[in-house]
């Protein structure tokens, strides 16, 4: 199987909801068109600033360490899971809060609907449909908490649908598009983060370098966050509704049995809570061990 035109997938199904449903990245990673199993670690860092009357009154920083895995159940079915541990810090003028603990575990099943290859066995068209759940097993905020967004778990289920389409447009460049809808349930207190919708497009370029292959994917991502509700009623005041447009860059390096990755996102346009909250850059690095019987052949070409 050739890696030219390989499919580059990165799903975002965040568990903690500082923006009404983002944060906590689950990735099925690279190489959806291969038969690799993977197990790895991933570190994420993200920051936010909150404003009152256009004056900064708090800064939030989130660090997340994830144990990630992917298992190829059948030629067309992949199972992807992750368990995050999160440290969240909110620094205000008059105090600091730090909340840490296990986040909500996530599981995604990805089914490959279409996988067309060229004569050289490179992927020409790839289409997959996935379904994911986030289970409310992580540390969640008490009902009276005023810093709910800082907790690693939401206390509610998320159900996601994921559609990915990749088309090879030249010898070593592909265009990948993905759409994700995440629907959220209420927690026990009746609080519900709004549903989220995202679309991203990336150009994926890959080239053999040294003993492995480098894969780069610059692109754009758009996300929309519905308003949070309490017992079905809109929240008073700020309700986490908003949108975000980001530029992103993925860089991966694949050697025989290791996959190193980095993902950087920089907000370009955004409007959360009527402009009262702004997201900063997002940085993620990962290292995965590949389990395959024919890994050496994968890197030829």
């Amino acid at each position: 199987m050739s890696l030219v035109g390989c499919v580059f997938l990165t799903y975002s199904i965040w568990s903690c909801d500082i923006c009404g449903g983002v944060s906590g990245n689950a990735s099925i990673g690279l190489l959806a068109s291969t038969q690799f199993h993977m197990i790895g670690m991933k570190s994420n860092f993200n920051s936010y600033r909150s404003y009152l009357e256009r004056i900064v009154h708090s800064r939030e920083r989130l660090f997340q360490q994830e144990l990630t895995g992917r298992w190829q159940l059948a030629p067309r079915i992949q199972l992807i899971g992750s368990i995050p541990y999160q440290i969240g810090m909110q620094k205000r003028d008059l105090g600091t809060d730090i909340i840490s603990g296990l986040g909500d575990p996530r599981l995604v099943v990805n089914y490959i609907l279409l996988h067309q290859k060229d004569d050289d066995m490179s992927t020409r068209n790839f289409l997959s449909l996935g379904g994911g759940i986030k289970t409310p097993l992580g540390k969640k905020a008490p009902e009276t908490s005023m810093i709910r967004n800082l907790y690693p778990g939401t206390g509610a289920w998320n159900i996601s649908g994921l559609l990915v389409f990749t088309k090879r447009i030249s010898h070593n460049i592909s265009l990948q598009q993905e759409g994700i809808c995440t629907f959220k349930t209420s927690d026990k207190s009746g609080y519900k983060y709004g549903n989220t919708y995202s679309y991203s497009a990336s150009l994926v370029w890959n080239k053999k370098v040294g003993i492995g292959r480098i894969i780069c994917g610059p692109g754009l991502m758009l996300e929309y966050f519905d308003a949070s509700t309490n017992h079905g009623l809109p929240l008073e005041g700020y309700n986490n509704q908003g949108y975000l447009g980001e530029g992103q860059l993925n860089i991966h390096y694949l050697s025989y049995q290791w996959l190193w990755g980095m993902n950087v996102k920089q907000p370009i346009i955004q409007n959360f809570n009527e402009g009262s909250m702004k997201q900063g850059p997002f940085v993620s690095i990962s290292l995965s061990y590949l389990i395959t019987k024919t890994n050496k052949n994968e890197l030829k070409n």
């Binding site: 909150s50 404003y51 009152l52 009357e53 004056i55 900064v56 009154h57 708090s58 205000r92 003028d93 008059l94 105090g95 009276t144 005023m146």
Partner: protein, 130 residues
């Protein structure tokens, strides 16, 4: 020699004219806004009081403090301060009403306008219910 004396006199005159023309710096003023709570609010037992507000100065401010006092028992139940020098501040703090008895409460915001003890303050009274 004469040239040096002339230059010195010119420099001295320039300094005298410059300092004479300098305006006395205006004292810094601050606008204090308490967004929440509002006067007369009642906070039910077990619920959180939102303390939201801003301070905007005409120049550099020298910190501020926020205190919450139970006027019924005359006890200080919350205090916080910030010593950073900035031209504006915003705060967003919370306090949960666990007073046990219905009490008159006062939230006081005090801003330091200089380091000589000049301050500006604002208060709001409300009720913490049982």
């Amino acid at each position: 020699m004469n040239l040096k004396i002339n230059i010195s006199i010119l420099l001295l005159l320039s300094f005298v004219i410059w300092t004479g023309c300098e305006k006395e710096s205006e004292p810094v003023k601050a606008t204090l806004t308490l967004i929440e709570p509002t006067a007369g609010d009642t906070i039910p037992a077990g619920e959180a009081l939102h303390m939201h507000g801003t301070v905007e100065g005409t120049g550099e401010l020298h910190g501020y403090s926020l205190t919450l006092t139970n006027l019924t028992t005359n006890q200080l139940v919350y205090s916080g301060s910030n010593d950073n020098h900035q031209t504006s501040y915003a705060f967003d703090e919370h306090w949960v009403n666990m007073e046990g008895v219905t009490s008159s409460m006062r939230l006081t915001l005090v801003v330091n306008l200089d380091h000589d003890g000049t301050t500006s303050s604002k208060s709001v009274d409300f009720v913490a219910a049982q």
